[in-house]
Structure formats: C-alpha cells, structure tokens
C-alpha cells in the first residue's frame, strides 16, 4: 500500500505554499505562481475549488475551515469563501504580499509584504486593523500563540505581541550569517526555528533571560558533497508536527528531513523528491505531510522548468516523526 501519492490537478507553475485546514486533515490549500489558489480533497485526491488572482500568489492560509486568505505579487489581499465560492478583495499592500498567516488566539489575519509592513485584518468585518512597519522587507512570518515573529531582510527578526501592537516586543538578529529563508514557531511557543539560504537551521528561544538563551543552537543540513566540493542548499520550508514538536525541513536539494529539536537528533530523511521542496505542511493530527516540490525553487536561477510542479501527500508514521527515547542515555 502506497503511503505517498501525488495530487491530481497540481498547479501548473511553482507552488509557493501549502496549508492544511485547521480542523480536518482532509483539505489542503495550495497557492501557486500560476496565479491560482486551489483547494484539494486529500482523501479523494481531487481538486475541489480553484480561484484566481491577477498575479502569482505567494502565500495562503485558512482563517477557519471555510475561509481562505491569500496574497500575491500585486499586493491585494483576497479572501475566498469556500461555501459560497465568492472572492473578496479585502485590501492592499503597496508592494507584493509575501506571507499570510492567521492567528487563532486573537482571531486576526496578518499579511507581510515587501513594502516593509505587516497589516492586520479582521476576518469577519474585513477591516484593516493596523499597519506596522518593519525593519526591512518581510521575508517570512510565523504565528506563535498570540505573538507573531517576522523575519525580514538584513537578518532582522522582530517579535510582535498581537494584543499590544504599540511597540515591538523583541527585536533580534538572526543568529545565522546569511539571508533568512523561513521561520516557524514551536508548538509550545517557547521559541522558533529559523532557516537560511546557507543550509543551516537555528533553534532559538523567545525568553531573553541568559539561561534560556544559552540553550540556543544551530546545525547544518541540506548539504551535499560532490567531488570534494560541498554544495549548500537553501532550506525553503519548515513544518512542525503539532503533537510531537518535531519538525521537518525541506530544501532546494529535494530532500525532506525530520528533526527532533530537543534531543538534537535527526529522525529520518525521506526519499529524494523530483525537484526542490518549496513548502511543507503537517495536518493538524500529524498523520499527513504535504510536500510541495517545484523546480522554480531549485538552485539554478534559470527560469526554465526542468521538472514538474507537484504536491505529494505522505502518510507519516510514528517511527518517522516521534522522538526516540532511548534508555541508557541522559
């Protein structure tokens, strides 16, 4: 029995983001450079809905099980009602929208853009609650409880408290030496994982006290040695298993690795995917992992696609995702 399959009707161009529905592992949202956002029924392996933007879409998210929000290069924030099939343009940014996230604690949708701001939107009234400037173009964001962690260009990381946006709660530098690629927060909200273009991932903690900060570390991954030269690949995607707090990283090399952040061990590595892994998502119950693979995110800058864009759904087992507790070790 195959534990992994490819979705039908995959987007025709690079897949920028995949997200599972918050309430069920049946539905998956996928945004793509072919300007569409599609909803898939994973159990039936079929495409349920599709709606279009006027430009490539860079991120999408569910605000609840029937509403999806997405943003793209033209800067418009679009909300789609899956029941009525109606699209609404909720607002705009001055430049392309790079990330869209939903915070369930405060019931707000946050969009981050290359215009160096993040904007908050109310999912019900569709009003823009606020616009907050960041130290640089927003490259990645992650919701952490009622906080939001924003990674910008120039290696800055900014933590905002969504309940009190009057000031920046924490302003830090990424502890890696190169461009930040992705940030995801731990399910226990103690910290976050940050990846860079240099095949390196850092695990950091939010508590600024010295004892906690001493626990932070970084490790190398997604590097391949060929003929004595080490090729270093960007780590494009990180996804957390909600129950076990282990995380998966996907890189431009086409591999997906599972890591146990607390014991500092790699749990497993999946097979090589046909193209670079652009996005990862675990379902809420942790039974499935969606892997979006697109040659657009590969190491070459050339725009010609040498492979196809595809989304693979993998049923993950405990052996692959659960931390190993071995006897005899501390």
């Amino acid at each position: 029995m195959a534990n992994e399959f490819k979705l039908n009707n995959c987007p025709t161009d690079g897949i920028s983001s995949v997200k599972f529905s918050p309430s069920t592992s049946q539905f998956l949202l996928a945004s793509s450079w072919d300007m569409s956002v599609r909803l898939y029924d994973v159990t039936e392996n079929s495409q349920r809905f599709k709606y279009e933007h006027k430009s490539p879409v860079l991120d999408c998210c569910f605000s609840d099980s029937v509403h999806s929000w997405s943003g793209g290069l033209d800067g418009s924030v679009m909300m789609y009602d899956l029941n009525t099939g109606r699209e609404t343009v909720v607002g705009r940014h001055n430049n392309s929208i790079r990330c869209v996230e939903y915070c369930s604690d405060t019931n707000v949708v946050v969009t981050g853009s290359w215009d160096q701001t993040i904007k908050l939107w109310d999912p019900r009234s569709h009003n823009n609650i606020g616009s907050y400037s960041q130290p640089g173009k927003v490259f990645t964001m992650s919701v952490c409880g009622d906080h939001i962690i924003v990674g910008t260009c120039g290696k800055s990381v900014v933590v905002w408290d969504l309940r009190n946006m009057g000031y920046v709660e924490q302003r830090r530098e990424s502890s890696l030496k190169y461009q930040t690629r992705c940030i995801k927060s731990f399910p226990n909200k103690q910290g976050y994982v940050l990846s860079s273009i240099e095949g390196r991932v850092a695990v950091e903690y939010l508590d600024p006290s010295v004892e906690v900060q001493k626990k932070k570390y970084a490790f190398k991954c997604h590097r391949i040695k060929e003929n004595g030269i080490e090729h270093i690949y960007s780590v494009h995607a990180i996804a957390f298993h909600q129950r076990y707090s282990t995380f998966a990283t996907g890189g431009a090399d086409g591999y997906v690795n599972m890591w146990d952040g607390f014991n500092k061990k790699r749990l497993c590595q999946f097979h090589l995917f046909p193209a670079a892994v652009s996005s990862l998502a675990f379902s809420n119950d942790g039974s499935m992992l969606a892997v979006a693979s697109s040659p657009l995110y590969g190491a070459e800058l050339s725009p010609s696609s040498n492979g196809e864009d595809a989304i693979y759904i993998r049923h993950v087992t405990d052996a692959e995702t659960k931390p190993k507790t071995s006897s005899g070790l501390a």
Partner: protein, 372 residues
C-alpha cells in the same frame, strides 16, 4: 544532555561517537568560579595545548577521575577537539573537511553574545594585539566565506555577516528568490536574463573585493564594524542597530516619505537609466513573445516607491562603476543623514526631543545638524 567530563579534561576516548555532550565549558562552573577564558574558543585548542595553564577548577571537580590521564593530551584518542569547531566563527572554513556527525550537534551555547559581558573581567593582556588579532580573524573569515560562496551554489543575492550577532557587511543587499522570479514574470525571458547578469555582476564584484582584501576594503569594514565591537551587544534597541549599515533602512517606510523621496531621487540621479527605475514596474506594452504562462502586461501597476527600491539597494556599493544599474550614490546628498526638509513632522519631533518614544522611532537617519 549529560556533559562529558572526560572531554572537558581534554581526553574523551569516544570523540565524536560519544553519547554525552561535548561542551568546552560547563557554564555553571564558570559562574561559580568567576573565571572565563572564553577567548580560547576561537582557536579551539583548550585541551590540547600544554602551554595553556590548566585552571585549578578542572582538577578540583574531576579528582575522582584521576584514572583518565589528564596530561596525555597528544593521545590518539583525544578527538574531543574536533567537535568544537562547529560553533566557532572560523569553523565555517572547515566545513568541507569536517566529518558531519549525524547524531550529535554541538551546542552554540558557549559563544553567544552574552560572552562579551564575562569577557570584560579578563585582565587585558595587550588590548591592541588582541584587537588586531580579532580583526585578522575577521578578515580571514570573510575572505574564506567569499571564496567558498560561488562554488557552493548557494543563493548569491544574500546579505552576509562574518559572525553571528554582527552587522551585515555593506554592499550585499538581501534579495529573496521570489523577488528575482518576479522580474522574470514582469519582463520576460530576455530582459530577465540581462537584468540578472547585471545584478550578478554587482554581487560578484563585491564578493571579489571582500575576498581579495585591499587595505581600502579592510578599513571600510573596520569602520563599519567599529561601533558593534564596542557597544554592548545586548542593547537591542540601540540607535546603531536601528540605523545599521544595512541598506534596508535607506528606503523610507512611511507612505508620506515615499512620495517625498522619489522626486529627490530622480533629480539627483540623472545617470539612472530606464533599466533601474523600471525594474519593478510592469513592462509597458511589451508584447511577451516567449511562451510564458502569465503575460507580464496583466500585472496591476506597481506604485512608484518600489521602482526606486532596486536603485536604492545598490546605493552603498562603492561608486567606481560605470554600469547603469549601480546608482553611483547620491553625490549631492549624503546617504547617512536625511535632509531636514524630507522628514515628516513626527519624525522631526522625535529627533528633536530628548529621547525616543517607543512605537514612534523614525526609520530613517537624522539630519546632520541634529546629531551632536
């Protein structure tokens, strides 16, 4: 994890296979004794080199392990040192030679930025030589990282800093892969390739400069890093960290200032050709002849402020270029300070007041006359 006692003595026979954690310093001990020889971290020779005086604390705590000979540092089993090279800043140059231990990571806990607080307790041996050694190490790291960058096939358009918590080196702006891809959708294959070549050239040039360090490059790097070495690294909201050398602060963040900034940009830079300012604007009526799925003309108009963004990104690159993309900085306007006339009323008020109000801190540098 349990910290390996034998490794701390410099003599762990399991080396990288050891199940315990190989940490140079047990931080609890340091606080108790109040001593820290953290500068040895950079050279990784703590246990091996007999020339260093073994502080008494090691003998105190591991007296019961006398059976492990502490003096035999050149023993072939002492592979304890190799694990540490992961977290020193110079270690990156070794990453091609190091065996990557799949099951153990070394913690970076020893070389976090709070080390600076304890380092102050050390009696300065000779502050000049120590500093120049630091600088030499910094130059070496930068040079080696630049040398490795092209061959490693890493994303070329990224900012870079030579060590954690240090500011980014000037001249290398942060551009995401999605932004580059956007150019392809906006301009079509031909234009995209041309733009990409030009941008790549700028980056390659800068990396070459950093790799083959001239005196000029060194002095500019030092002056840029100067503030960060002396200042307290744990002061997050220091003015310097807000206005750091990163180019992202040069472009204004407020909407009002955007409109104000653009006219001055275009009047001062007559040398910027169409290629720069149009980079993020949709291709005007250019029929897309190559077979691409999304026609570039269907893009919604991007507002002008983004058009200047790419030009502003390369403002800090030294002005010796003749290439049109490199805006040979604003010669009549100093990019370190903003004109008083350009600031909004609230920004001006912030600068003139005694201290900044949180939440209203301006994103742009102050005018020169307001700096003391």
């Amino acid at each position: 994890m349990v910290i390996c006692k034998f490794y701390q003595q410099g003599n762990c026979k399991f080396g990288s296979r050891c199940y315990n954690e190989h940490v140079r310093y047990n931080s609890n001990e340091n606080r108790n004794r109040g001593q820290q020889r953290s500068q040895n971290d950079n050279y990784g020779n703590r246990g091996r080199n007999q020339n260093f005086v073994q502080p008494s604390r090691f003998d105190d705590s591991h007296r019961q392990h006398k059976s492990h000979t502490t003096e035999n540092y050149s023993s072939p089993f002492n592979r304890g040192g190799s694990n540490n090279t992961n977290f020193s800043s110079e270690s990156d140059k070794h990453h091609t030679q190091q065996s990557i231990d799949k099951f153990h990571w070394t913690s970076k806990s020893q070389s976090n930025r709070f080390n600076a607080l304890t380092e102050l307790e050390e009696p300065p041996l000779s502050s000049n030589t120590v500093q120049s050694e630091d600088h030499a190490a910094m130059f070496k790291t930068i040079s080696e990282d630049m040398a490795l960058w092209p061959s490693s096939k890493m994303w070329p358009f990224s900012c870079y800093s030579y060590a954690k918590e240090k500011n980014c080196v000037e001249g290398l702006a942060d551009i995401q892969p999605e932004e580059i891809r956007t150019l392809y959708y906006l301009h079509g294959l031909e234009r995209y390739r041309n733009i990409l070549d030009e941008v790549e050239l700028i980056y390659t040039k800068r990396k070459e400069e950093l790799r083959y360090m001239s005196e000029e490059t060194k002095s500019s790097l030092l002056s840029q890093q100067g503030l960060s070495i002396d200042s307290n690294p744990s002061a997050d909201l220091s003015i310097y960290s807000l206005y750091g050398p990163g180019t992202e602060f040069k472009s204004s963040s407020s909407k009002v200032a955007d409109v104000a900034a653009l006219p001055t940009q275009s009047t001062v830079n007559p040398t910027i050709t169409r290629t720069t300012t149009d980079l993020f604007k949709p291709a005007v009526a250019q029929p897309n002849t190559s077979a691409l799925p999304p026609p570039s003309s269907s893009f919604i108009q991007q507002p002008p402020p983004t058009g200047g963004a790419l030009g502003q990104i390369f403002k800090t690159v030294p002005a010796a270029e003749t290439k049109p993309l490199v805006s040979a900085s604003l010669t009549s306007k100093d990019a370190t300070y903003t004109d008083k006339t350009e600031l909004t009323a609230s920004e001006l008020q912030q600068f003139e007041s005694q201290s900044f109000t949180l939440g209203k801190i301006p994103m742009r540098p102050p005018p020169k006359d307001l700096c003391r």
